[in-house]
Each structure stands twice: as structure tokens, then as C-alpha cells.
């Protein structure tokens, strides 16, 4: 590299890319990990470049815990949690947030419910107090519940006209059968049937310290922050919920096509998927690497093929979704209607190629560098670090996961990629979902297996 002491001398412009310089070591910040007597686990990391703080309080129960009786109830509970506590009405909560320069989010996914806050570090203590108030003293005002319910109904109506949503919802049904992960969203009727007492019951049973994890990253001194947390959360007690026991998903065999009819669409949402693994599976690293070579990065085989060579689509990608009990693998692309079948042909061609032939040494090297390098970018922002720490402690990964991830990725071989593709890119049994106008795509769909048609509300047609 040219340095300050070396004046730039005229040299011909190089026609080849400069080699990479020597790699700098990446150091993840020290963590303060502590469990309160109540069972609340706390993970803190200092990040002091900007005077901000971000924290997330997780509870290890989400919509999967209620799918058998009230789908989506955990999501509605989270939505109403922010609308009032014993001492703060809704308006006061929102005004307090502004005074702290903070944003608040309350959400539930399949596996967790979470209260997230991010604001100016100078108000860290007050932000934690607000989070504790929401976690412990939410009052579920009846009028706020009804308003949130109506809002959720309207959102659902919009989602049911959105091809990408309809495709994912259908795939989850097909892959997970009787398992609670089958249900990505409630029906309007189910939302209309929620009762306020059910929300309170979920809250009392699942927003409990024994099942909670608080992660905070920001411009604070960890020891002072821990003392503040002990003060704010120290006297919190509640019983732990029963562990969730779920039926085994069906592992569908043979390719089938599930066509969700969306009238008038000018594009078809193509979604292909199969059951895969969780982040705790020993195959996780090699599968992540195989995915990045197949379709998980801009420079991946599928993106080069169907975007850069064929121009079928703008943003195709493959992903491994790491849910807690059972992960799944997907490939998606939104394509113009007349190339739906051609797109599926290429998706399976590239999948089968990953399963049949080892990747080249150049591809392997490039993908290992990609995953290792991008992982290190996460250390440079508070939210990146918060996300990485949450993954480690929510998924109960080894404590040195962050420090060893890059070397584990760099140790993988072409054989690892082949093994992962053969095990987890289940081409022969992949389920195909097409969301689009059936007039335009039904004949193309039939080329890939038996077709079942659904309307936007999930009824078979």
C-alpha cells in the first residue's frame, strides 16, 4: 500500500485488481453476561463511538406457542403491550420516548416476543425503566386493544393482496403441516375472535424473567449498566412457562406445485422450499456456505443465471431460515409471468448442480471470504452487534460463536459444500409455490408436478 511518507509517483494505471492487504484482526467487544436471581439473563457490550444505546428484551415464546388455539395472538399481545401500563397511558409512553430520543418496537415472531428500544445513551436508565414497565405492568386498555385489532385486520387485508406474503404463507403451510410453524398469519376471523383476557393471559404466562433475555449495546459503562438493570428488574418474579411440545412436521415427499391465485398480477412470485436445519445443527456452517454460493449473495450462481444472464428477475435470493425448532430453506424470485416455468427450470438446474458437482476452488475461496468478511462488518454498528449477540444467546450457541465463526467458515472444503447441498437442498422433494394470476401460469405450473390451487384467503379452489 502507498503510505503517507511515500509520495504518489506516476505509474501506469494497473489493469488487474490490487491484491488484498494483510487482514486486520477483528475483535468483538467484551461481554458482560449475568443471570439475575429471577432467571433474567443479561448480556451487555460497550460500543462507544456514538452516544446511543440499543436494547432488546426477549421472551422465548411467540406465535408458535398459541398457534393451536389463537394464531397470531402473541403478535397482538406485543402490539397492545406498548399502549399502556399501570402508571403510563399510551400518550405518555409516546411522549416519554420522544424525550429520550428513542424508538420503541414490540413484536412477536414464531419463537419469541420482543421489546426493542433505541435512543440517546444519556437516557439509558430511563429507557430501561420504560422497558421494565412494559414488561411487568402492561395494562391492556380495552380501547387500545380494539384499535390495534382493527389495525391488524386492515393490515391482513393488504397482506392478502401481496404476492410475496401469500407465497410465504402457503409454503409454511405446506412444509410444516400440523407443526405450529405452519401458520404464518391469522385469518380475519381469528383476529376478530381474540379476547382481551387472552392477551393478558399470554402476557402473564410468557412475559416472565425466567424465560427472558436482555441484550444491550451502546455508549455506557457495562458495570454501571448492570447495576441499573439489577435495580430496575431485580424484584421481578414469575413462574416459567411449560416448554412447548410440537408435532413433527410432515417432510413432504415428491415435488408438488401450490398455486395461489392473485387476479391481475403482472408478475409471478416463485417460491421453492424444503425443511432444513436450525442454527444449532452441526451442518449450519457448511449449509450457510453452500447457500451463499447457490443464491445467497449478489455474486452467486442463481443471481448470475436468472438476473445477470437471463434478465428474468430483479432480486432473486436463497436463504436458510433458522427457526428454533426446525429450519427451512427457500429460493425466491419475482418474475414476469411468461418465464415462471423457465425460472423454475434454472432454480432446479442450479440446485442439482450444487448436489452433483463440487464447487470450484475459486468459488469456494470467494464464498468463504464473503461470509467471513460480511460477518465482521456486523461488529461496526450497535444494531449489527446487538443482532449478533441476540442470535448467540437466544439460540443458545457456544459463547465463543462470534470469535470462532470466521475460522470455522474458512476451514470448510468443497466436500462440505457438496454434503450440505445433498442434505439440505432437497431438489426432488422441494415444494413449489407460485403466487400469480392462474390464467397466466397454470399451464406452466403443471410442468413441475401435481398442482393445487388456492385463493388469497387460503381456500383451495
Amino acid at each position: 500500500m502507498t503510505t503517507a511518507s511515500t509520495p504518489a509517483t506516476p505509474r501506469p494505471y494497473p489493469t488487474a485488481a490490487p491484491a488484498l492487504g494483510p487482514e486486520s484482526p477483528v475483535s468483538w467487544p467484551a461481554r458482560t453476561v449475568h443471570a439475575l436471581p429471577s432467571g433474567l439473563r443479561v448480556v451487555l457490550a460497550e460500543s462507544r463511538q456514538f452516544p446511543k444505546m440499543s436494547a432488546q428484551l426477549f421472551f422465548r415464546s411467540g406465535n408458535a406457542a398459541v398457534a393451536h388455539h389463537s394464531p397470531g395472538l402473541a403478535g397482538m399481545t406485543a402490539a397492545v403491550v406498548r399502549t399502556g401500563t399501570a402508571s403510563r397511558p399510551s400518550r405518555r409512553i409516546e411522549e416519554d420516548l420522544r424525550r429520550m430520543g428513542a424508538d420503541l418496537g414490540t413484536h412477536a415472531g414464531a419463537d419469541s416476543s420482543v421489546i426493542s428500544i433505541s435512543g440517546l445513551a444519556e437516557f439509558s436508565g430511563q429507557m430501561l425503566e420504560l422497558v421494565a414497565d412494559l414488561a411487568r405492568h402492561a395494562s391492556f386498555p380495552a380501547d387500545e386493544f380494539e384499535r390495534e385489532r382493527r389495525q391488524r385486520l386492515e393490515e391482513l387485508r393488504v397482506e392478502r393482496t401481496t404476492p410475496s406474503f401469500l407465497a410465504s404463507e402457503r409454503l409454511r403451510h405446506v412444509l410444516f403441516g400440523e407443526h405450529p410453524y405452519a401458520i404464518a398469519a391469522p385469518t380475519e376471523e381469528q383476529v376478530a375472535a381474540y379476547r382481551r383476557e387472552q392477551l393478558e393471559e399470554f402476557y402473564r404466562g410468557h412475559y416472565v424473567p425466567a424465560d427472558a433475555l436482555l441484550v444491550a449495546v451502546g455508549d455506557f459503562a457495562a458495570d454501571a449498566m448492570l447495576a441499573q438493570i439489577e435495580k430496575t428488574f431485580g424484584d421481578w418474579k414469575a413462574a416459567q412457562p411449560e416448554p412447548l411440545v410440537s408435532p413433527v412436521p410432515p417432510h413432504p415427499s415428491g415435488r408438488r406445485v401450490h398455486l395461489v391465485h392473485v387476479p391481475g398480477t403482472v408478475q409471478t412470485q416463485v417460491l421453492v422450499g424444503n425443511l432444513a436445519i436450525t442454527r444449532r445443527d452441526p451442518d449450519w456452517y457448511r449449509t450457510a456456505l453452500a447457500n451463499s454460493i447457490y443464491g445467497g449473495a449478489f455474486h452467486s450462481r442463481l443471481v448470475i443465471n436468472i438476473r445477470e444472464q437471463k434478465g428474468y428477475t430483479y432480486s432473486p435470493r436463497s436463504s436458510v431460515h433458522a427457526l428454533r425448532q426446525q429450519g427451512y430453506f427457500t429460493v425466491h424470485a419475482a418474475v414476469r409471468n411468461d418465464v415462471a416455468a423457465a425460472t423454475l427450470t434454472e432454480i432446479f438446474y442450479e440446485m442439482d448442480r450444487m448436489r452433483a458437482l463440487p464447487v470450484t476452488p475459486e468459488e469456494l475461496d470467494s464464498a468463504r471470504n464473503y461470509l467471513a468478511g460480511v460477518f465482521s462488518l456486523g461488529v461496526a454498528t450497535q444494531d449489527g452487534l446487538l443482532g449478533q449477540l441476540s442470535t448467540v444467546y437466544l439460540d443458545l450457541l457456544p459463547a465463543d460463536y462470534l470469535e470462532t465463526y470466521r475460522e470455522r467458515i474458512r476451514a470448510l472444503t468443497a466436500e462440505d459444500v457438496l454434503v450440505a447441498a445433498r442434505r439440505h437442498f432437497d431438489s426432488a422433494n422441494a415444494q413449489i409455490v407460485l403466487a400469480g394470476d392462474r390464467e397466466q401460469i397454470a399451464a406452466q405450473a403443471a410442468l413441475f408436478g401435481p398442482v393445487t390451487e388456492y385463493d388469497g384467503r387460503g381456500n383451495s379452489m
Binding site: 500500500m1 486486520s24 446511543k52 400518550r91 440517546l120 455506557f220 465482521s376 454498528t381
Partner: protein, 438 residues
Amino acid sequence: MNSQARKLHIPVEHTTLSNGLRVVVSPDRSAPVATVGVYYQIGFRIEPRGRSGFAHLFEHMMFQGSENAGKMEHIRLINSSGGLLNGTTNYDVTNYFEAVPSNALERVLWLEADRMRALKVDDENLRNQRDVVKEEVRVNVMNQPYGGFSWLDLPPVAFRNWPNAHNFYGDFADLDAATLADVRNFFHTYYAPNNAVLLMLGDFEPAEAFALAKRYFDDIPPHPLPPSPDVSEPPQTEERRGEVEEKFGPLPAMAVGYTAPPRGTPDWRAFTILDRVLHGGRAGRVHRHLVLEKQIAVEADGSVDTFDANGPTQMVTRIFHKPEYTSDATLAAFDQVIGELQEREIAEDELDPVKVKFRADYYGMLEGGMGSYMPRFGLMHYLACFTLFDGDPERVNTVLDGFLAVTPAEAQAAARKYLVPRNRAVLLRRPVAMGGAR
């Protein structure tokens, strides 16, 4: 444990190369990463007539190959260095940016210099990217509920001068009409070192970064730039209205846009503060009144491009209202919120928290601003805007003060002057299911 408010100071160093390329550096040794951007002062506002969407199509072409790095090579070289990259087309700039481990800094500069020096693309690249862009428009606009609402719908209603009022994503006929000669001409006209700024942020010594910039960029020849076209708007004398059909979504929607005062003026600062009183989530007056209290709307919020715009722009409120309320009733409720700002000064106990939140959001933008894996994107973006539009990247450290000094009286005066019917446009998005546009 409330610590003291800490005033942030961002280190900024800058220079101009002999060819006119401005170079801005902000070192940050906290993590071994680098964020690099090249911003060209050309956006969709001044793309050629008859070629709507061309600035964006051209942005795609910048990833199709340059003299020494063929198709997919830019992407391969960044990804295989452990980095991410992207580009975006905006009203007044087009940017190309990368986040990489810091040992790839020199490689990134070589790639950016190579494509500033000589784009190398052919007809097949153009056909391919035209197809990709059409799918981008389909997935984001034509096949999406409320697609293009309101960034594509509102400008044609609000503005009269073509640069501000045309379809920025492009009519398909215009995209089809674009030729390789257009690509070459656009590159030669606007993609000049003297029309750009190079930004380097992250883990390196500034002197090292300046030396690399000089090595790779200094001998790229400057081009004479065309005179800036007139993007000003003729005076508006009455409220403007428009309607667009919503093909998929079931809820009626409305966008109300008020044209912003000129960049850098005291009125611009007061207007921005008004935006933050009205918008910014549930504490904003619009959401509180329409969604939480009157419950006319299901969602209502808005924003203004304060720092990114260098020409006519609007503060826009987007409202999705319940079908049982008419658009007139919804607008009347919105007007009540606006009326209060004109009739009464904002109390200090509302204005002070708004300023705290403004400061917090500014810091948050500087730190991230584009997801968790593009460190300091927002800082890079603001440094670029302050360099290209204001000639002073160091403004990033002082610009906040003016906004935090806006008084209740100034805000009220700005509400009376700018939040008026003759300065606004109203766009209705009517669901087909309810009878569509009338």
C-alpha cells in the same frame, strides 16, 4: 445513571484533486472496516426528456463492466473481499458504495476509479439490464399494493417543471427507446471526476487514503459540464389535486405534500422542525390525531428530505384511512392538525422533546442508516450531500445547531407561510374495489 449529553464530533478531512474530484475522509479506528462511496451529481431530476428512468437504468449499467473489470467482476471482487455493495439513484445524486474489511480499501478504489475512467458495456448488457429494471418496476410498483405511493404518484401532481414532475422509474416505452449511444453520452456528460465526490470512512490513516485516491483517480480527465438546467418551479397559486387507481389494496390512501423552502435558509430549518412535530411515529401530531384519537386512519405518518434534496421537494404525509370515512372527512381532520400549528405556538414541552429526537435520529443516521451491515452509510451520505450541494463537508458537525435553535414563533410563522393550500398538492389513491379513480 443518566450520563451527560455528549456532543459528537466527527473527524473530517477533505481535498480536491487536480481533475476536480473532491475527496472526503473520515477515519474511525473502532473496527477494521471501511465504507467507500462515489457520489455523482446527477439524479433522475435532470435525466434527458424522452428518456424517463434513464438515470436509474444507467446506474444499473455501472455494474456491467469497465475497462479492466468485466461483467460481474465488480460484484465478484467486492463479495470475495468480504464486502457488500450497492448503488441508488436519487433526485439529485446517484451513488455507488461498498462496505468491506479495511484490507480491501485499495481494491475498492481501483474498481471505482476503473468505472469512472471508462465504462465498457455492450448492447447485450443494455438489453439484460433493461429487462432487470422492468422487473424491478413490476415488483416494487406494478405488482405491489400501494406500489409507488407516493414517491412516483405525487410529483406529477405537485410540480409543473418536467425535471420535478416526470416518472422517475421510467415509462417502459422510454426504457425501450434507450440506446447504447445514450449510455455513452450520459456517461461522458455526467460521470466526470469534476462532477463527483469520493468518500472514504473507516479504519485507515487519512494520509494513506488521500494517497490512494490520488494514485487511482488523479489522472482521470475532467470533462466540461453542461450548464445546470433550470429546475425551479413556477409560482403556485392554488391547491393541486390528483387521483390514482389502487389495483390491489383495499384501503383508500391519501398523500398531502407541502413544498419545502429553499435549502439552507432559516425557513428550511423551521419547516423541518414542523415536519418532526407532525410526523415521526405515534407521538407525531398527525398519527396521534388521525389514528389514535379520531381513529379515522389506520396508518398516518410522513417525512421530508431535508439534507438530500437540492431542488424542489415536499414534506409528504401519507394516510391510509378507513373506508367508512370519505377522503374529504379525512382531509378535514388532517387540516385541523395543520390549523392548530398556525393558530398556536408549539409549547416548549413539546418542542424540546422533538429536538431531542431530531438529534437522536441524526446520530443514528450517521452511525448506520442502511441496515446493520453498511457501517456509517448515513455519515457518508450526509458528507456527500454537504460537499456537493453546500461545498462544505464539515457542515456535518454544525448543521444540527440551527435546527435545535428554531423557536416556537419561527415554527408558527413557517406553518402560516408554507402549510397553506396554495403550497400543497393532494393525491388520492382509490382502490378499484371501491370504484377506483373517478
